[in-house]
């Protein structure tokens, strides 16, 4: 077998060296009745060419040829071939967690740079590297707020990504954390006035997302004020970090949970992605996940090492801040390289293009009879549209035009059958936007 670097005679010689008559001898501690006498019933073995054929066949069964207007936490953005060429270097791809700092300085310095970039983007003082994704980053951010405040209630806007809230609910359920969800206003923004003082005085955190699941930007300052007045923290969740190229960073938030997939990470049917927690420096000892820090060796040379490990499970076991061990380091590297390429100007231009294209699409959609944009709040590259009939019906017709239409919001919100979430990034050409609006116009006219 091509991955195994031994000939049969080498195996024989090695067994002789050990003093074992046969390979079976090495498995004799497994009781005979549990040892398999037959080979497993598995497909294969396949050659490299056959493996490629299998996956090409699967790729052909997916959405190739379709234009998609889906976002909702997973975005199609520009990528550079440079990023992929660099992360495929074996020294990055096939290295372990950098516990042995002396031979992991490449990974460690890149992590340090990632932490810096994430802190710069979010306007926070420190950032970790990394969490599994946005949904688990948000969950861990809430658990962190609970530890910091020693309070066990969380007020979560229902404009936070529904699947993120589902993950939070799974984790919170058995930890005695009460989750109270609150609604939104006509602008599509989380409804500050619906928060009750009685709940706030017991709350570890208010949790909002900006841009929120409807694509609407939240005004964080009043939420921060309300939270801080009662000793709660403000947790802000970000699923579309490209917005941070032009949108004011969530400096008012105490903890930020971010999904960084937008920066060079392919959608890949939902993962692997990159979660991040950024926060105020004074909270760092309650932060989960790995952190790289600057350190000196005996000769005074600067290097980097994993630090504050006493927060982590391999040291603290049941007293750790989290059970996380394996994270998304390679994709944190993707994000780092991507952001270095984009740079200060590129990021701003990218964000501007998203805003302009989404605005263009909104203007086109508004012109279609029966189509409205129900929320008045400012949006970035996603927004809610309302049709005169159920979105799922419209989407079936759009599929015939090879278009994956807006995300039907009724999947997550009852009473929203006619509303859908549209995402327009810089990768969507004017022609495709116009093809979409033309198709829609035709469908709704019938």
């Amino acid at each position: 077998m091509r991955y195994l670097p031994k000939s049969q005679s080498e195996r024989r010689e090695m067994l002789d060296a050990i003093g074992a008559k046969s390979i079976e001898k090495l498995f004799e501690t497994i009781p005979a009745k549990y040892r398999l006498n037959e080979l497993l019933n598995l497909p294969g073995p396949l050659s490299e060419m056959e493996i490629i054929d299998y996956f090409k066949a699967r790729a052909a069964e997916n959405s190739r040829g379709f234009t998609s207007f889906l976002g909702a936490g997973v975005y199609q953005h520009v990528k550079s071939v440079v990023t992929d060429a660099l992360v495929q270097r074996g020294e990055f791809l096939t290295s372990y967690t950098p516990y042995q700092a002396e031979i992991s300085q490449g990974t460690l310095q890149a992590i340090f740079e990632f932490q810096t970039l994430m802190a710069q983007l979010t306007g926070q003082e420190v950032a970790n590297a990394s969490m599994y994704d946005g949904s688990t980053a948000l969950t861990e951010a809430v658990l962190m707020a609970e530890r910091l405040t020693r309070r066990h209630r969380v007020l979560v806007a229902n404009t936070v990504h529904p699947e993120y809230r589902q993950v939070l609910a799974t984790y919170a359920k058995h930890l005695g954390i009460q989750i109270e969800e609150f609604g939104f206003t006509a602008s599509g923004q989380a409804d500050l006035n619906s928060l009750r003082d009685a709940s706030l005085s017991e709350a570890a955190a208010i949790v909002v997302q900006s841009p929120n699941f409807f694509g609407v930007l939240e005004n964080l300052a009043p939420f921060a004020e309300r939270a801080h007045a009662t000793g709660a923290l403000l947790v802000d969740c970000i699923t579309e970090p490209v917005s941070l190229g032009i949108v004011k960073p969530p400096e008012e938030a105490d903890i930020v949970a971010l999904e960084a997939q937008s920066f060079g990470v392919p959608p890949s049917y939902g993962g692997p992605f990159v979660g991040v927690i950024a926060a105020r420096e004074k909270f760092v000892r309650q932060m989960p996940g790995r952190l790289a820090g600057e350190a000196l060796d005996a000769e005074g040379r600067r290097g980097f090492c994993l630090t504050l490990a006493t927060r982590e499970q391999h040291i603290r076991r049941e007293k750790a801040t989290s059970n996380i061990c394996t994270n998304e380091a390679l994709y944190a590297l993707v994000v780092t390289i991507h952001l270095c390429l984009l740079g200060k100007e590129g990021l701003r231009e990218l964000a501007g293009q998203n805003l302009s294209k989404a605005r263009f699409a909104q203007e086109q959609l508004k012109k279609i009879p029966g189509v409205t944009l129900p929320f008045s709040g400012a949006t970035f590259n996603e927004f809610v549209v309302e049709f005169p009939r159920p979105v799922t019906q419209v989407n079936q017709k759009l599929a015939a035009e090879k278009i994956i239409g807006p995300l039907a919001l009724e999947k997550y919100y009852s009473g929203m059958a006619n509303r859908g979430l549209v995402c327009i990034t810089e990768t969507m050409s004017r022609t495709e936007i116009e093809r979409f609006t033309a198709a829609l116009r035709k469908i709704l006219a019938n």
């Binding site: 009781p31 398999l36 490629i52 996956f55 810096t116 599994y132 004011k248 760092v284 200060k344 599929a399």
Partner: protein
Amino acid sequence: MNQRTTDEMEAIGIKKARRHVSQNEGLIFDKSVRGKRGMELPPLDVPSVDPANALGAEFVRDGIEGFPEVSEIEVIRHFTRLSTWNYAIDLGMYPLGSCTMKYNPRVNEFVARLEGLATEHPLQPDEVSQGCLRIIHDLQKCLLEITGMDAASLEPVAGAQGELTGLLLIRAYLESKGNPRKKVLIPDSAHGTNPASVVIANYEVQNIKSNERGQIDIAHFREFVTEDVAALMITNPSTLGVYEENIAEIAEILHSRGALLYMDGANMNALAGVTRPGDFGVDVMHLNLHKTFSTPHGGGGPGAGPVTVKKILEPFLPVPVVTQTNGKFALDYNRPQSIGRVRAYCGNFGVLLRALAYTLAYGPGIRQTTEDAVLNANYIRKHLEDLYELPYNLPSMHEVVFSDARQRKHGVNTMDIAKRLIDYGFHPYTTAFPLIVPGALMIEPTESESREECDLFIEAMRSIATEAETNPEIVKTAPHATRVGRLDEVAAARRPILRWKPKQNQNAQKQVATHGEKAHIIPTA
């Protein structure tokens, strides 16, 4: 800078590595010069919108101070230089015990990037996701066959998340029986994630001591399994690399008292194709696809931690579940008894896909990987056991655990030996774990090492054992050939510097990299 020369390294007997020049490189932020960029966008094909007009001035930020401004070639050089400071499987053996650092096949990377797979959106309709769903389904079938279980969820994205998922399944099952119970038993040899996961599932951890053979003492174990015990969480083979010989009996004791058996599958590389946890009584387990199933560790992740379960736990699996009806695949969310979601979407699909590519490459031949992994570990053990102490003299499976008891007499500990291995061109083994072995050297070669590489490792370890007696200082101060020596981690944690910040009084001049020298010398293969 260390003055030792290549000739001296050869004289000592360092065969695998020799010094060469490695480039210095500062932080990307220090290279940044205003006005440069490394990526250009196609021109905007719609009217440009002014952000302040569109969003309101209160929502708009200024440019990010200190954000990098560098060209493409500078990005290429920066990260290529950094990469050369890393060790990697692609360079040589990575004998980290419990980590299963095996070869990461390149074809897996190729297929993960295919148009039509890498490009797919997780919320697109099932009708246009049949390929993705079938990949998940096919891998699920393979993992069930390998583990001997009945149902699976591939949603957990890391071993630790698989553990938590498994524990939540146990809780949900026991709750459905009327009492979730209070405690989870964990042997003292367990990975740190086990107790940390137990706490999140809101169980109490009860540690159980291993006996003098490093195994669970059946007589004692019976006493532990009270009405309060929900499950035992066990790693098999244990972190000593030893098969838990009474595992089936342990399962019986648990089951007779209404408790379940969880198996941490971190060491599945010792079992795949040879024995199946489902057959010896395990009720729920997780696999680490970034260990046993070859997906690249990438400097710390990503991974995937699928759980496989017995029939009794199936109703509680996380949503969504992939179903197949009349050849059509779908995501099923209507699972009233489900524990809920543990992650958005369908987990780390890109990792699942690579694991399937790996499994297809071997097919039933996966047994050979297990045999070779166990062969390598025993070969290394055989050639080192005269020089290094074996604290538990039991048959090794895929890894062998020594202690530094003999070297300690000369003031040399496991960390010193590990750091000295770096000079010999190897990544260290796992140090100081499992906790039940003071000064542990935990060595897992995996099946990916040739006899030649194993021999080089053995030679290095033997040479270091000699050095520990004749020249302990050189071992205690190792590594000598790296860009940096041992870092002062205590000082780093006391006053953590976790990010770059713009220099005070920054002038327009470009900062010079911190390293004074043009280049530095490190060993390489």
